[in-house]
């Protein structure tokens, strides 16, 4: 996947738009409780947040096709993320 850090738009490596990451609640990943192998529960909204570190582009597309509002966590330093401007 690829992310533009200035507008937080997430794309697949082939350039397909996935989602614009935006959250008004400002809860940090480290402050969320684990509720699955790659997910955490946000205390601010009680939604499940998916860690994209171990997800392929195809898995992300599938996840967002089923739930376009699915919340994601992306860290700039994870191996499967490239940055573009």
């Amino acid at each position: 996947m690829k992310i533009n850090p200035s507008n937080k738009e997430l794309y697949t490596d082939s350039g397909a738009f996935l989602k614009r990451l935006h959250c008004p609640i400002s809860v940090m990943w480290k402050d969320m409780s684990e509720n699955g192998s790659n997910t955490r529960m946000c205390s601010g909204c009680e939604k499940t947040i998916h860690d994209t570190e171990h997800l392929s582009d195809a898995e992300l597309e599938h996840l967002l096709a089923n739930d376009p509002q699915a919340c994601l966590k992306v860290n700039l330093n994870q191996d499967n993320v490239k940055i573009f401007h």
Binding site: P5, K19, L21, P24, N75, L76, K82, I83, H85
Partner: protein
Amino acid sequence: MLFKRLLDIFRTNPNSQTKKVEITCTECGYPYDNEIEECLQCWYLKIVEDEASDKKSDNLRVIKTIRGETAIKAAKTKGLKLLELKAEVSDEFKVKYKKVQHRKTGEIITIGDFREGHGWEWKTLVNWTYKNPSKFFSSYAAYVIPNDLKKGEHVLINDVITNHVSGRWNQGDVFRLSKSEATWTGEDFYIDVSSYATGEFIG
């Protein structure tokens, strides 16, 4: 057909796209270059003239930022309450980029990641270069403080004046916080850096 091809080549010629040309603003006479869409002096004057003082985003009141002596003088003439701050360049920030062009289509893209591989079909126009995102239109800047802003009110600042690191990347980039939530202390804004930190994105 040949004309169209020549036009395409001209349009995608890196020199024609990156050449700086100075333009004199027809409204205020201020000189600016063709790399920006609008005269910044006029842009900040429009912010001063914008009467809507209670715009909200994510249920937070948005604090307006103005830059440049002209806009600050205009704001004072209007009687607006300002918190004036110096906009300083910090060498701490650096964002890298590389411009490449597709040899067949002429498409030009900007990449920012060393791992972004491009084959022979992409020609390098600008090799890896760092730019400092803390260079501003003017060293004079101010927040417009709403008259009814209460001490402790949480607000949103779309154009932060002071320098804060919003994230560091293990490829060397250090990002500047440009937008942030903040709390009015009665005299200044306490900038909540974590609200828009760029090391980690959730949403």
